[in-house]
Symmetry: C2
Subunit: 380 residues, 2 copies
C-alpha cells in the first residue's frame, strides 16, 4: 500500500521537502552574502539524509551538540565537525577515538580548568585536540565575556602552549530567541559579532593564532548586516523553522517544514474541543511561544495540505491526546472535523518535537504521498 | 570496566531499584486494601523488566497508552491489556491483529460514532472487540459525563448490541494532578469513583453488562478512602514518582526513583551558576512544577547518593546544557562542585523525562554500581 498522509499511522512526524529546501537555500544565501562560511548545526535534524542537504559536502563542515551525533555523522562520512557544547574531561577519550579515525573533531572550553585538562589529555595521547574558546555574547549560557579578556587569553595560552590547538573563538547568541523585530534582531547579531571579534583581537594581540571566529543562532544568522571579522556561521533550527521562529519574525508560518500528523478521536462541541491522537509525547512539552506575544499552545493546526485553520491551536496536551480549540477571544468557528479526520500540527520548537520521533515522513507536494522515510537518532 | 555512577557516560537515566520496589509495594498495598484489582499503566516505564515488576503476572493485567506499547508488551508475553486512549477507526486493524494472536486487548470509546465504528469492524472481522466507555469524571480530557447518561447508555448499547463487547466503564481523574493536600485528593478520588459508578449503574439499569469499573490516576489511587463499586485501579507514574507528585503530597522527594546523571562542565560563581551536560534533551521540557507552590525549575539536584543539595535546582535548560542555581531567595550556598564532578537531577515528570532516554541504568544501593541496564522503547 502506498503510504500517504491519509494512511500513515498516527501520530507521525511529517517533513515538507520543498519548504526545507527553501529554508536551506535562504540560509546559505544569507551566509554567503556576508562572506562567511557555513557550518550547519545538525542537532535539529539528527538525520544523515538531512545533514547531506545542509552541508557543503558529504564531509562537512558540521556542528553537533553531542558526541553521539559526532560518532553517527562520522560513521556516515562527515569528517569536519565541531562539538559545540563545553567539554567534560571524561568525554576526551571518545573525542580522541574519533580523531584517531580521521575525523577533524574540535571541541569547546570556557575555563582554564577545562583548557588545562584538554591540553594535558592532548599531550598524554600525542593527539593535539583543537578547542574553541566559548564566548558569552549575551549572558544566555556558558562562556567567557569581553569583560574577562585576561581570562580569554589565559585559556587560549593554556590550549596553545599546553599541547592542544587553539581552534578559535565561538559564540551563540541564545538571547536572540527572545528578540522581537528586525531592529532587535540586528542588535543581537551586532552584539554577537562584536563579542567574538573583540575576543579574537585580544588573543591575536597576545600572539595567539585565531584561525576561526564562529557565530551562530538562526535569528542572528538571518539578521546580521555585517559580519566583518567573523569567518564562520552556525545555525540549526532554520532547516525546519517553527512557531518560535515565526513569533520572533525570522520566518512565516508557511515556511515551517515540520508538522505532526494526527487523527481526530472525537469532538466535544459543548466544550469547543476536538480531540486528536497526538499529545505531548508527539509534540514535546516545549511551550516556547508561551513567552511570546502570541501563545500558540502546543501548536498551530493545519489541514493535510498545510492550510492553517483560523485560530485553531492545541490548547492542552495529555501524554497521547491533544485538545484542539480556538484561541481565547477568537471569533472563528471550530472546523467541522470528525472522528477519523486528519490534521497536521506545527510545532513550537522543531528541535524538541523532532526529538520525540524516530522517523521523518517526507512529503514533496500537496498530493499527500510519502516519498521517503528518513531515520533520525537520539541519545548520547 | 565496571559501570558506576562515576564512569557512566553522561547524561544518563538512573533508576533506583530499591525506591522503585518500595513505590510498587505501596501502591499494590493501597489497591489491595480497597479490594480492587490492579492494572498498572506501563506508559511511564515502557520497559519489559519494569512491567514484570509491576504486574500481577508476566501475562498482565496491564494498561498502555499506545498500540506500539501493546505490541511490544504482547511480544514479551503480556496477554491482558487495556489501550486506554480513545480509539480511531484506522487503528482497528492493529487491534484485531493483536487479538487474533491471542492478546485480550480492550480499547476505549467515548462517542456513538466511535462505538458504531468498533461494532462494525467487530462484525466485519468476526472478532468482537471489547471496548470500555470513557467517562469524564472531572472535565480534564475526553469522556462522557454523568450529565449525559443517555449518551452513555446509547454508546453501551451500540457496542453490546452492535457486535462488539461492552467491557465496562473507565475514567482517569487527570485533574487530581492539580489537587493539594489530603482532603482535596480524597475529594478527587471520591469524584472519580462516583462518576464511573453512576455510569455503571445507569448502564446496568438499561440491561447492559458492566463487568469492569475502572478508575485510575496515581494521586487518587493512593488517596481513595472507599472504592465501593469500583473493580479495578490503574496507575502509572507512582512506579518512579517525580517532583510533581511530591508537590501535591502523594510522595516525598526521597521516594523519587528516577534521576538524570550529569557531569559538571564548569562554574560561574559570579553568576551563581553551575553548568552541567544535561539540558532539556535529557530532562524533557516538562515544567510541571511551574504551576505548583514550589517551582522546581527543570529539576532538583542531589549528590550521587541521592542527598538533595539545599535549594539547588536546574533553573535553565538549553538543549544539551543545564544551569544549576540556588532557588530565588535562598540563603543556602552554592555547593563547591567543579569541572568533572557529577550530580543527579530529579525530574518534574517521570513519564516525560524517561521518554527522552533509551535505557534505565539501575542502581541498587549507595555504592554507585550499575547493576543492570534495561531498555525502554518509544514511538507509536
Amino acid at each position: 500500500m502506498e503510504l500517504t498522509l491519509a494512511t500513515l499511522p498516527t501520530p507521525a512526524l511529517v517533513l515538507d521537502d520543498h519548504k526545507m529546501g527553501a529554508n536551506i537555500k535562504r540560509m546559505r544565501s544569507a551566509v554567503r552574502a556576508r562572506k562567511a562560511s557555513f557550518r550547519p548545526h545538525l542537532k535539529t535534524a539528527k538525520s544523515v539524509p538531512i545533514a547531506r542537504r545542509l552541508m557543503d559536502s558529504p564531509r562537512g563542515p558540521a556542528t553537533v551538540s553531542t558526541l553521539l551525533e559526532a560518532e553517527q555523522f562520522a560513521a556516515a562520512g562527515v569528517t569536519d565537525i565541531v562539538y559545540a557544547v563545553g567539554i567534560t574531561p571524561d568525554k576526551l577519550p571518545r573525542v580522541v577515538a574519533l580523531r584517531q579515525r580521521g575525523v577533524d573533531l574540535s571541541i569547546l572550553v570556557d575555563s582554564l580548568d577545562a583548557a588545562q585538562a584538554v591540553a594535558a589529555y592532548s599531550r598524554a595521547n600525542g593527539n593535539p585536540i583543537p578547542a574553541f574558546i566559548e564566548i558569552d555574547s549575551d549572558g544566555h549560557r556558558a562562556g567567557l565575556s569581553v569583560r574577562e579578556l585576561d581570562q580569554v587569553v589565559a585559556v587560549g595560552r593554556a590550549l596553545h602552549d599546553g599541547g592542544a590547538v587553539l581552534a578559535g573563538v565561538l559564540t551563540h547568541a541564545g538571547e536572540s530567541y527572545f528578540a522581537r523585530g528586525q531592529a532587535a534582531l540586528q542588535t543581537a547579531a551586532d552584539g554577537e559579532r562584536d563579542a567574538v571579534v573583540r575576543c579574537a583581537t585580544a588573543l591575536r594581540a597576545a600572539g595567539l593564532p585565531v584561525p576561526v571566529v564562529s557565530v551562530g543562532a538562526t535569528p542572528t544568522a538571518l539578521s546580521a548586516r555585517d559580519l566583518t571579522g567573523v569567518t564562520e556561521v552556525r545555525a540549526g533550527v532554520f532547516v525546519f523553522f517553527d512557531l518560535v521562529m515565526a513569533g520572533i519574525g525570522v520566518c512565516g508560518i508557511d515556511d515551517i517544514a515540520l508538522s505532526v500528523l494526527a487523527t481526530v478521536i472525537g469532538t466535544r462541541t459543548d466544550k469547543g474541543w476536538i480531540l486528536v491522537d497526538a499529545g505531548w509525547m508527539a509534540m514535546s512539552r516545549d511551550r516556547g511561544t508561551a513567552a511570546q506575544p502570541v501563545d500558540q499552545g502546543y501548536g498551530v493546526v493545519t489541514d493535510l495540505e498545510g492550510r492553517v485553520y483560523p485560530d485553531l491551536i492545541m490548547t492542552t496536551a495529555n501524554q497521547e491526546q491533544g485538545i484542539l480549540a480556538l484561541r481565547p477571544g477568537s471569533s472563528a468557528s471550530l472546523p467541522p472535523l470528525k472522528l477519523g479526520d486528519r490534521v497536521r500540527i506545527l510545532p513550537n520548537h522543531a528541535c524538541a518535537t523532532a526529538a520525540q520521533h524516530q522517523h521523518y515522513h517526507v512529503v514533496a507536494g500537496n498530493d499527500g504521498a510519502i516519498t521517503e522515510v528518513w531515520d533520525r537518532f537520539s541519545g548520547w
